[in-house]
Amino acid sequence: MVADTPSDNRSKFLRDVIADTPEGERIVHCLQCGSCGGSCPNGAEMNYTPRAVIAMIAADRREEVLTSNTMWQCVSCYFCTSRCPQDIPITEIMYALKRMSIREGKARKTDAPALAKTFTDLVEKYGRSFEFGIASRYLLFNRPMSMLKSSGMGMSMFAKGRLALTPTRIRQVKQLRAIINKARELSQHD
């Protein structure tokens, strides 16, 4: 393994990304080859490709990266990760950027955080997720027009018995909440 560069040469943004990403220290080995952007199914829709984002992280351009749409266009397909010649966990870096962007109130140009929150709120209430609950709550508050356009499809799914109107509630939902609350508390000590 190549020796890492001394940490005092690294930008604050780079250090934060490394700290928030498992195996994130691999990022310093980026060759700027562009295999990631070239492999990305949504690369053309991104403000900056993953290659550019890695260069911008090193250059401490925090605001531009965290307000960009790049990580929100990531569909977690892992093509970039699997093809990176330097074994950089690029998809995991995208997750870290999503978390930082939400935490720092910079998430724009996307409804993805609203979808994520709707999803996990239901999990915390019932222990399981269910499509109808997610779609109805999320679309109603974020994309009401889209709800209308999807309603035909929703009716077809309902007719086929594929839309549960109520979720399954696990027995030990209190235990799950205790685990979540503890994890949330511990994550704030970082």
């Binding site: 949504n42 990760t81 093809r83 998809t91 979808l115 499509e131 018995g161 594929r162 994890a183």
Partner: protein
């Protein structure tokens, strides 16, 4: 052979056909599948976008619930499989995170030792553990004449699968060759279906779905085989809207691979969840196969 089974939330309603066909096929093959008691949602990609420690703790609860009778956990859904496997790996390799997840689990009176449970994808289990000989011995309705397009998607073959090629997976292709089907070798079989982008930004999602449908159609597939609930939902339920968006007229049935495996094993189509897909699969399957022996074993 005995496995703990993690169906995942999608298999409870939206992808009930997957759950139904998994259970029917494994019963026919004599494999014992014990559903994990009181399992919780794996969080899909949504917890990892918000809080990594919460994400891994929520997933670790499921690993901790696997009892001493079982050392393997089988998941059919792509997101569940990746999350369970990724969490076991993170807990093995990241001691600081493991310490915190241990503390979180302890708040619920649970504990988990990384590596105790081996997380398997259903396709790997069927292909590797049961294998060609045992599966072929049970075929009563060969799939000769049916052109199938195996679709692998992303999160089963990348990044952690360990049983197939992440760029050009072949295990489902081989399995359907055992069953006598004409397997379509099309170039996008491990490309992305758009995942949750159908909920966030339809134009991008629709374009990814179009690429898949168009390629399978150009290669004259009769049916696309999925092994992920999200892929099946996007390709099947959104097919009409994709047609509307692009002015195309795709009419490709999208089924779970276990449904068609079940047909080859002679299980009645109703017991395999056929009829729940929005683009009906039954007519093309019956017309290509000798309809009289479909469902003959039950």
């Amino acid at each position: 052979m005995k496995y703990a089974y993690y169906p995942g939330c999608s298999l409870e309603a939206g992808s009930a056909a997957y759950d139904k066909s998994v259970r029917a096929v494994l019963e026919q093959l004599g494999v014992e599948l014990d559903e994990l008691d009181d399992w919780n949602c794996c969080g899909a990609t949504e917890y990892f976008s918000q809080n990594e420690l919460v994400a891994t703790s929520v997933i670790a609860r499921n690993l901790a619930l696997v009892d001493g009778e079982h050392d393997q956990l089988v998941a059919p859904c792509a997101a569940c499989f990746l999350n369970l496997k990724k969490t076991d790996k993170l807990l093995s390799e990241q001691p600081v995170m493991k310490g915190k997840v241990d503390e979180a689990l302890a708040a619920g009176g649970l504990s988990y030792r990384p590596g105790r449970v081996r997380v398997r994808h259903l396709l790997d289990m069927l292909y590797t553990d049961i294998g060609q000989e045992a599966i072929r011995a049970k075929v009563v309705q060969p799939l000769n004449g049916l052109r199938v397009a195996p679709y692998y998607g992303c999160q089963i073959v990348r990044p952690l699968n360990g049983f197939d090629n992440p760029e050009y997976p072949m295990k489902m292709d081989e399995m359907f060759e055992w069953l006598g089907a004409e397997v379509v070798d099309y170039p996008v079989k491990a490309h992305c279906c758009g995942g949750h982008m159908t909920q966030i930004s339809e134009p991008e999602a629709f374009e990814l779905i179009r690429r898949l449908l168009q390629s399978a159609d150009e290669y004259q597939a009769d049916v696309i085989l999925c092994m992920c609930p999200m892929c099946q939902l996007n390709l099947d339920a959104y097919q009409g809207r994709v047609n509307g968006h692009f002015g195309t007229s795709f009419k490709l049935p999208i089924v779970f691979f276990t449904q068609l495996l079940g047909v080859a094993l002679g299980i009645e189509m109703k017991k395999l969840g056929f009829g729940k897909e929005l683009v009906s699969a039954e007519p093309v399957i019956r017309s290509k196969l000798d309809g009289s022996s479909v469902g003959a074993a039950t």
